[in-house]
């Protein structure tokens, strides 16, 4: 009973161009499984739904095949397919109110398929429709209403009832929760997931990524009409493999994530097909940005479609088209095999004299992620960070940076590695030479690497960097020495210096500890922008859990020189596993040792009896005339209170 889509392409034709909406889609809709289709607007989600229903407009040219139980849908005559439409394959349309008839009450409209397809008498049909609507949470009182008298949620339920009324095998839901409040949304989600045990093959088209992640058994990520990635349930946010999926997830306002919304750099393109009047005359596609005025503005993307917006793209990505290949539990279309790992630490350890500062630790940083290292002072955060930056050597273990052996790299070509890693040190005042002025400090890495042609270019870059960290770049400020600045400014100068060479990895040890909240906010925003625009990977050491919550994609918790917990920020802070993490999150330090039971003076009391060590003496009462002491014994040395029965522990 499955629906199989093979090599499906859709081109919307106009006079001399074509808009390539779907390109080589291969997809199986399996009974009892929900396939969630996600992607930005214009990625072809709705086109796919409409293609399955054969509801595309005249100018759409469809290639490939859609097989329902092995029988091709596209080859059927209109009359034959009409018999299938709604009875075997039904759809809930986006923008529901518009697809209802405004002059008919909804009961009639929901009953209509029964009358048309099954030939039931009207009263029977209406009875069935009423039952079905009630089952979906529409009380009988609403059945007689017209669409404009219903709320958005009620309309959505009516549409669902209409789509399910003939018990079709394939249900296509186009943005079923788009305009719904959270309560109705979760109700509708409940209805959708109830379709699973009923053996329906569901295609859930949505931009609600959280819904897709929780409801979908399979999640298909569409970009410019191509499937970029196919993921298993629950992987969308926590283990995306494609940079596009990652960026998409970061753009979504999740309920449990505190991190600022990211985004995807650049704009989505449309893919236009056009035939060159000159040349070989064959039709081929170009990515044309939506705002590009000239139709023939060639922005050829022979390679990966996401290439212009991808932060980890290499030259190779633009060359040849990439195939969708099996990866993990799903499939992936990426020349680099998915999100690359930027830094890989395997069993690195460090010992300072008798102190084991860092127990053997594994840590991987993926390209473009922000990993926050949290923990209390002396937990080994800085040691790990400095080993990651290559500033400290590890006693044991292996380090790989951008898939090359880091130690070898450090020995052979220190300089080229230094260009890729920026470091902000913990104590900013120590990390800059007191003999250099601001301009010289920020210019130092630029001078060392000589990538800029002349001092004017360097000065311009310095001004740009200072603007990034919200510092002035006037001549007076540039000539200042570190000791003439406040610590916050020095810290920002350090940050500007670390970013000077546009590193791909920034290791920052408490880079904002000396900043006031307003400047910190701006600086962090700038860093996150770099993450989105340049794919900057950030290893951020902090003891501020609130800060980590706000900027981290992942959080690693360190305690006593060891990594005790690591995971997505939402999981580590929302559902901490390690007791130490729980304490950190709750802001409570380890509990002090319990005070000895019994009388506080018992240890030194000359008259102490057994009871003094077991029971706390009575506190001083409120009687103003009484001479009172906190003691079990009266002046004669007799115990005042009899021990409670069984109270002797």
């Amino acid at each position: 009973m499955s629906l199989r889509i093979e090599q499906l392409s859709v081109v919307y034709r106009d006079a001399d161009h074509g808009l390539l909406a779907l390109d080589g889609i291969d997809l199986d809709l399996v009974p009892g499984r929900i396939t969630a289709l996600v992607g930005e607007s214009g990625s072809g989600k709705t086109t796919l739904g409409k293609t399955l229903m054969r509801l595309l407009s005249e100018n759409a040219q469809v290639n490939g095949s859609i097989l329902l139980d092995g029988r091709p849908i596209l080859g059927l005559s209109e009359a034959d397919f009409n018999a299938w439409r709604w009875s075997r394959i039904a759809m809930v349309f986006q923008n529901g109110a518009a697809s209802l008839n405004p002059v008919q009450c909804i009961l009639d409209q929901v009953a209509e398929p029964l009358i048309v397809h099954r030939g039931l008498p009207k009263d029977r049909a209406c009875g069935l429709a009423g039952c079905s609507m009630k089952a979906l949470g529409l009380p009988a009182g609403l059945h007689g209403r017209f669409p404009h008298e219903l709320s958005g949620g009620q309309i959505q339920k009516a549409l669902l009832a209409m789509a399910l009324i003939l018990d079709p095998e394939v249900v296509i839901l186009d943005e079923p929760t788009a305009a719904l409040d959270p309560m109705t949304r979760s109700f509708v989600a409940g209805i959708v997931s109830a379709l699973r045990p009923r053996g329906k093959a569901v295609l859930l088209i949505t931009h609600d990524l959280e819904l897709a992640d929780t409801l979908g058994d399979t999640i298909v990520v569409l970009y410019l009409g191509q499937v970029m990635e196919v993921l298993a349930a629950g992987e969308l946010f926590d283990r995306p493999r494609h940079p596009y999926t990652l960026a998409l997830g970061r753009s979504y306002p999740r309920l449990d994530a505190a991190k600022d919304l990211g985004g995807i750099r650049g704009d989505a393109f449309y893919r236009r097909l056009h035939a060159h009047p000159a040349g070989n005359g064959s039709a081929h596609s170009h990515a044309v940005s939506p705002d590009s005025a000239h139709e023939n503005g060639h922005a050829p993307t022979g390679g990966c479609l996401f290439y212009p917006r991808c932060t980890q793209a290499v030259e190779d990505c633009a060359q040849a088209p990439v195939a969708l290949e099996a990866a993990g539990a799903g499939r992936l279309r990426c020349r680099r095999g998915g999100i690359v790992s930027r830094l890989n630490l395997e069993g690195v350890a460090k010992r300072f004299g008798p102190v084991q500062a860092l127990a053997p630790t594994n840590l991987t940083l993926q390209a473009g992620e922000v990993l926050c290292l949290v923990g209390e002072t002396g937990s080994g955060k800085s040691t790990l960070a400095m080993i990651a930056a290559g500033v400290l050597g590890a006693d044991q273990g292996r380090r790989r940076f951008e898939d090359r052996d880091m130690d070898k790299w450090l020995r052979r070509d220190y300089k080229s590695l230094a260009r890729r890693i920026g470091v902000v040190y913990q104590n900013p005042a120590e990390a800059v030479s007191h003999r250099l002025c601001v301009a010289d400090i920020v210019a130092e890495p630029l001078q060392i690497h000589g990538l800029l042609p002349d001092p004017t270019a360097i000065a311009a870059r310095v001004a740009e960097l200072l603007a990034m960290v919200r510092l002035p770049a006037n001549p007076e400020f540039l000539r200042r020495y570190p000791h003439e600045l406040n610590l916050g400014a020095v810290q920002r100068v350090c940050l500007a210096r670390a970013l000077a060479l546009s590193p791909s990895l920034l290791v920052a040890d408490e880079p904002t500890s000396a900043l006031d909240p307003s400047v910190q906010a701006k600086v962090l925003k700038m860093i996150l922008e770099l993450q989105i625009e340049n794919g900057l990977t950030l290893l951020f050491v902090t003891h501020d859990i609130g800060l980590a919550r706000k900027i981290a994609d992942r959080i690693a918790v360190m305690h006593a020189g060891a990594l005790v917990e690591i995971g997505p920020a939402t999981a580590v802070l929302g559902r901490p596993i390690h007791p130490y993490t729980r304490m950190l999150v709750n802001g409570a330090g380890p509990a002090p040792p319990a005070p000895p039971s019994g009388c506080a003076s018992a240890q030194r009391c000359p008259d102490g009896t057994k009871i003094c060590f077991h029971r706390e003496p009575e506190r001083i009462g409120s009687d103003p005339l009484r001479h009172a002491a906190v003691c079990h014994l009266d002046a004669a040395g007799r115990t005042q209170h009899q021990p409670l029965e069984g109270g002797d522990r």
């Binding site: 470091v423 003999r435 890495p445 060392i448």
Partner: protein, 279 residues
């Protein structure tokens, strides 16, 4: 941290008196040839004449004006001291920095060499070399520098080792800076006051050494020198010339050594915080 290096010096009597003397002697050195009324090698005057308006300090046994001889002798002594001091400092800085920065093998070799040289008395070598090879003064200055760099080099090495592990130098290293860049941009300027002190000490020693060698007659006798003047004056000790012939070179030499010593002491006080507390 960043300090105004000469702020406190302005009220230091050591520095002020040293500076005053140095300026006075410096003026004499600079303007000597212009101020001298006669050629230093002019032997046409009445030998052993007493001081007069024409010859302020009289005439020596060879018929040369003693005042002019004094001016030229001072010039030679100062030049020798500067040259030897400068050469020793450059040598010491190069070796000290290299030993501190590169460590390991370079450090071990240079520092053992320094220990060996410290154990050899420089005066002996210098006297022997001067007597046997009759070198030009500059070669002798170089030899002196080659013999006396170790103490300064050890000091520079110790200072550089402290500075080497400062975080901003580690940061510079992390940024990919070459050894040369770090040494020139960060290490060398960091030790600045130390050079002045070391230079003053070496120059003082070299000046005294020059006077000694000249006194012993190990220099070309035609070369004017304070030491040589003292040596000749002593030969005519039985005449009553001590106040106009013997005393002036002794006095000038003493002033010169004092000037340099005072400057060195005041600088050392200023830049070595431990000394600052002690004094």
């Amino acid at each position: 941290m960043h300090v105004d290096p000469f702020g406190k010096l302005q009220s230091d009597p050591w520095f002020l008196s040293g500076l005053g003397l140095a300026l006075l002697l410096g003026l004499a050195v600079m303007l000597g040839p212009l101020a001298a009324p006669y050629d230093p090698h002019d032997m046409s005057f009445v030998p052993l004449a007493s001081p007069s308006a024409a010859h302020w300090l009289g005439v020596n046994d060879g018929g040369m004006d003693i005042f002019v001889e004094l001016l030229y002798g001072l010039r030679n002594t100062v030049a020798f001291g500067m040259a030897a001091g400068g050469l020793a400092l450059v040598l010491a800085a190069l070796i000290g920095m290299a030993a501190a920065w590169y460590g390991g093998w370079a450090d071990a070799v240079f520092m053992r060499l320094a220990d060996v040289l410290l154990a050899i008395p420089a005066v002996m070598i210098l006297i022997v070399a001067a007597a046997f090879f009759r070198p030009v003064p500059l070669s002798l200055a170089l030899l002196l520098a080659l013999l006396t760099w170790p103490s300064t080099a050890k000091g520079i090495r110790a200072q550089a080792l402290v500075v080497k592990n400062r975080r901003h130098i580690l940061a510079s290293r992390q940024m990919g800076a070459s050894n040369a860049r770090i040494i020139i941009r960060h290490l060398v300027p960091e030790l600045f006051p130390f050079y002045l002190i070391a230079f003053a000490a070496k120059a003082r020693m070299a000046m005294f050494m020059e006077a000694t060698l000249a006194f012993l007659g190990l220099f070309d006798p035609s070369r004017k020198s304070l030491g040589l003047m003292i040596s000749f004056a002593l030969k005519y000790y039985y005449l009553d010339i001590w106040w106009n012939w013997l005393l002036p070179p002794v006095f000038v030499l003493s002033l010169l050594i004092m000037a340099v010593t005072f400057l060195a002491v005041s600088l050392e006080k200023r830049f070595d915080p431990r000394l600052q507390e002690a004094l």
